[in-house]
């Protein structure tokens, strides 16, 4: 709406009077503020009535001529000549640096082409003040009165930010201004990280690109190169500087706490085609290195589908080596391994051999030699799974005075005064322990039909014929001839 031409001179005078009050002394430079300067230093109210139209002073607004957006110092001097009004040191203010994608000229053309009209005060009116020169910087809420779209508030989640704002990479903002960009409320939601992905590259450009650059995403997404929505963003050195050193965030989905996730995740990741969701979902947080914490070979398709880390990317979820197996696994694993569970998915062969070859220093505690007797008796873990009873156990016992090749006495078993009578029961309860110290000849000095005392060692119901058929040579250790011959 255009002000009547009749009051233009009056408005001009008012503008001049207002400027005389608020214009800073000519000797002081206007302060540079890091945020949008919301105070107007020209006292528009004092000049109310002097100027019929805003464009009297702001001629460049409708034309887009930046040189005449503000009046020149000479324009104020028409009244502030020192005689009509006191002189003022008017200086054109420094243009505000914003990321607004707004052009008065273009906006005017759009309004005109729509057959509409719009006055300056439609956007520049001080809220709640109806006087003619109640001027203030435009507030976003005023824009939304016309450009509401589907979002009621300025930074509502459904807002299309690109309607009013240029992408960050084109915004002439300083580093501190970029750091101070306001955060929409939905970014503070507890589950924001899980649901922040835009639906499409276009959606990323419409909203995310106003405040974010590609580096914003690459801080966490080591798979950024594979995500179109991230590639839709442009890189920006200011953002790169701001995110440098900031740790990535990888929230754990609820599914990962579900029952037996450590057993189910393979099926979930692999899917019917073997790649499953690994490419699209797991790879948001997990690189191949995550899987190889446990899956040493890493050749399964689901793992191969994940991106590999590069030195210049985020590091993804780091899974520390942890106990995948339940407590007691050392005792339980033989059945699982024998049944065919794929140990090789996580373990190399040397992992097994290191223990089962009987010389892994770290399997037993350093003082196990002093403690191992009870372990041998309770058979908690079978010694013979890794050790040769004769060449390992008996050899050491003989060297250290605990074993005997032939001669036996009850002296060693000092807790059993009636050892001669009790050793039969003890031997049948745990003959493996006996064999760890005694040679077979130890026993035949008594339990032999040929040269010993002839004490029968066989249990009731002993099948001599079967034993002879199995290995007649063993019978000849005690008998002059094979029983049954």
């Amino acid at each position: 709406m255009r002000a009547p031409a009749a009051v233009s001179s009056l408005l001009l005078g008012l503008v001049a009077a207002a400027a005389a009050r608020t214009v800073t002394p000519a000797s002081a430079a206007p302060p540079q503020t890091p945020v949008q300067d919301t105070t107007l230093r020209f006292p528009h109210r004092r000049h109310a009535g002097l100027f019929p139209q805003c464009t009297v002073c702001h001629r460049g607004i409708p034309t887009g001529d930046s040189a005449t957006v503000y009046p020149s110092p000479g324009a104020c001097a028409n009244c502030h000549d020192g005689q009509v009004e006191p002189r003022v040191g008017w200086q054109r203010p420094t243009p505000l640096v914003t990321n607004l994608a707004f052009s008065h000229a273009h906006h005017q053309q759009s309004v005109d082409s729509a057959g509409e009209t719009i006055a300056c005060l439609s956007c520049h009116r001080t809220p709640g003040d109806t006087s003619s020169m109640a001027v203030s910087p435009p507030q976003p809420q005023l824009c939304i009165q016309c450009h509401a779209h589907s979002a009621p508030a300025h930074m509502d989640a459904a807002q299309i930010c690109a309607t009013c704002h240029v992408p960050l990479v084109r915004a002439p903002l300083s580093l501190s201004q970029v750091a101070a960009l306001p955060k929409p409320a939905d970014h503070d939601a507890p589950d924001w990280v899980q649901r922040h992905a835009p639906l499409s590259p276009a959606a990323a450009a419409a909203r995310c690109a106003v405040c974010h650059a590609r580096e914003s995403c690459e801080r966490c997404h080591f798979n950024a190169a594979r995500i179109p929505a991230i590639q839709a963003l442009q890189p920006d050195p200011r953002v790169a500087s701001l995110v440098r050193g900031r740790a990535p965030v990888y929230p754990k989905p609820a599914s990962h706490d579900s029952l037996n996730w450590q057993w189910k995740h393979g099926t979930v990741a692999g899917g019917a085609d073997g790649r499953g969701i690994a490419v699209t979902t797991c790879s948001d947080c997990h690189a191949q290195a995550s899987c190889r914490t446990c899956h040493r070979d890493g050749t399964t398709p689901a793992i191969q589908a994940l991106p590999a880390l590069r030195p210049d990317t985020a590091y993804g979820v780091r899974i520390p080596p942890r106990t995948i197996h339940a407590a007691g696994w050392l005792k339980d694993h033989p059945t699982h391994a024998a049944a065919g569970v794929n140990c090789a998915a996580c373990h190399s062969r040397t992992f097994c051999v290191d223990c089962h070859q009987g010389q892994k220093a770290q399997y037993h505690p350093p003082d196990f030699v002093a403690q191992h007797a009870s372990e041998a008796y309770n058979n908690d873990t079978q010694c013979t799974a890794c050790h040769s009873t004769e060449a390992f156990c008996r050899a050491c016992h003989l060297q250290t005075g605990r074993g005997t090749r032939t001669k036996t006495s009850a002296l060693f078993h000092s807790s059993q005064p009636l050892w001669l009578l009790n050793h039969g029961q003890a031997a049948r309860q745990n003959l493996e322990a006996c064999a760890a110290c005694h040679t077979q000849a130890s026993c035949t000095q008594c339990h032999s039909a040929t040269g010993g005392w002839g004490v029968d060692p066989h249990p009731p119901g002993f099948d001599a014929k079967r034993a002879a058929a199995n290995n007649p040579r063993s019978c000849l250790a005690c008998h002059a001839k094979v029983p049954g011959e």
């Binding site: 037996n260 339980d332 403690q371 005075g401 090749r405």
Partner: protein
């Protein structure tokens, strides 16, 4: 150095040399070599028989007291009474060098693999550490041809089944007609568990006067199936006969199964000595994981020892025991705290050899508990305690370990332990207290140094009432790998 180069060891060395030297001319894709060098320091006090004049002892009967208060055993009409006393400490510093060599590129699916071990004693006694005088062993050395449906191996290889984890010299053919079924036949010459040598080895003859004089021939069949996703089944049959052809060394079979549904896992294992008609092992366990924090388990098993048929042990009527137990573990949601506890009781079967008026204990029970706490992102505390009382031996043992994680996956730890033990049906006394430090240091992507040193002091002993377990122990291990990793990306990613 004893000359114990077995045929397999010679073959392994020759094949390794051929693989390394010939792989490249044969357009091998690459070779990978991994090594582990371990040096240990161990101390031990051997027991030695000592005597005192019977006339100087006090008391009557078989057990008396020597003039200095030591318990002695006297058997009339001997003029002396005897006891075991601790000798001077002997030490040894054995060194082990393990080498794994893998070479491929001879043709599609072809591979050579060898796992070799060398031993030497750097300092001290060369008889204290088992097999320290056996300077070279080939744990594995085989040529392999593998395609999606079949795998063929020839050489020294591991036999892994419900029966055993030991190696043999021979050949194996595994057929996988479908992804859920595999059948394998194998055969060759047996090797003794943990010895890497045949039953005719001099190492065995040195400690067993009745060792056989004929190598064992091995034949085995193994099948593994997964009829449904939560079910794993396997069965194995093995037979070993003397090369001379008379009799058996062993004939056994084993069956193992695992069933998993939701949070419940059930294991079943059985081992049968077919030659002696003995059930050596029957074990079942239920494991229930109601959520990500709790694990509950219970097991029942029957164990009867197995002996090779070339020994006379099988004729002595070993009976074994039955055992039942249960345990539970809990872990906090963030994994910062975990605790575990288990109790079990075993009962030995009737031996028909009990002395009615003076039976010995025929049962036993075990208690154990452990906990781990992450005090901070870099500090962790582990604690454990175990109590085992029963026939034969007893132990009460506890320990604490404080560990600090350093940058780059390195760590250092401080460990304190204490235990009391009564073993081999002997009287013992005192408490052994130990303090040690240990650490892991990663030199790079593929090399690591692990070390530990601990000193143990046996305090409160009644002199010569049993072994003196005061000792110093140390270990230093260096692991390294060079060469390509087939199928894996180069360090740093693709």
């Amino acid at each position: 150095m004893t000359r114990r180069y077995s045929f397999a060891a010679t073959l392994a060395a020759a094949c390794a040399g051929l693989a390394l030297a010939g792989a490249r001319p044969l357009r091998a894709q690459d070779v990978r070599v991994s090594g582990t060098t371990t040096v240990n320091y161990v101390e031990l006090r051997p027991l030695q028989m000592d005597s005192v004049l019977a006339a100087t002892t006090t008391g009557d009967g078989v057990i008396r007291l020597a003039p200095d208060g030591r318990t002695v055993q006297c058997v009339d009409p001997s003029a002396y009474c005897y006891l075991y006393s601790n000798g001077s400490a002997i030490s040894s510093a054995p060194a082990l060098q393990d080498l794994q060599v893998s070479a491929w590129g001879f043709g599609q699916g072809m591979r050579f693999y060898a796992d070799l071990r060398g031993r030497a004693v750097v300092n001290g006694s060369n008889t204290l550490w088992p097999q320290a005088n056996d300077h070279f062993d080939a744990l594995e050395a085989y040529l392999e041809f593998e395609r999606p449906r079949v795998r063929v191996r020839a050489g020294r290889q591991w036999d892994v089944s419900g029966l055993a984890f030991n190696n043999y010299d021979g050949a194996s053919v595994q057929v996988r007609p479908m992804s859920t079924l595999s059948v394998e036949a194998y055969g060759g010459w047996t090797l003794q568990t943990g010895l890497d040598e045949p039953v005719t080895s001099g190492a065995l003859a040195a400690v067993e006067p009745y060792a056989p004089d004929s190598r064992g021939l091995l034949f085995g069949l193994r099948a593994q199936a997964r009829p449904a996703p939560p079910v794993w089944l396997s069965a194995v049959y093995e037979r070993s006969t003397p090369q001379s052809g008379s009799g058996l060394y062993s004939e056994r079979m084993a069956a193992d199964g695992m069933f998993r549904s939701g949070g419940l896992t059930m294991d079943l294992a059985a081992k049968i000595d077919l030659a002696s008609a003995d059930l050596n092992e029957l074990r079942t366990q239920l494991l229930y994981v109601p959520d990500s924090r709790w694990t509950v388990r219970a097991f029942v098993r029957r164990h009867q020892p197995y002996f090779d048929l070339w020994t006379i042990w099988g004729a002595f009527g070993a009976v074994g025991f039955v055992e039942g137990g249960a345990g539970a573990s809990w872990r906090s949601t963030d994994g910062a705290l975990s605790v575990d506890g288990q109790a079990s009781r075993r009962h030995y079967l009737n031996t028909d050899a009990e002395v009615g008026f003076a039976p010995i204990r025929s049962n036993g029970w075990s208690l154990s508990g452990s906990g781990a706490m992450r005090l901070s992102p870099v500090w962790a505390l582990d604690a454990q305690y175990g109590l085992d009382l029963g026939f034969g031996a007893a132990k009460s043992q506890g320990g604490l370990t404080l560990r600090r994680a350093l940058r780059g996956g390195n760590s250092v730890g401080l460990t304190a332990t204490a235990f009391q033990t009564a073993d081999e049906l002997r009287v013992n006394s005192g408490t052994v207290v130990g303090l040690g430090v240990n650490g892991v240091w990663r030199l790079g992507e593929r090399s690591t140094i692990t070390g530990s040193v601990a000193d143990y002091q046996h305090a409160g002993r009644v002199p010569d009432s049993g072994p003196n377990w005061s000792q110093l122990r140390a270990s230093l291990t260096y692991n390294w790998t060079v060469g390509a990793e087939p199928g894996l990306p180069a360090p740093g990613g693709r």
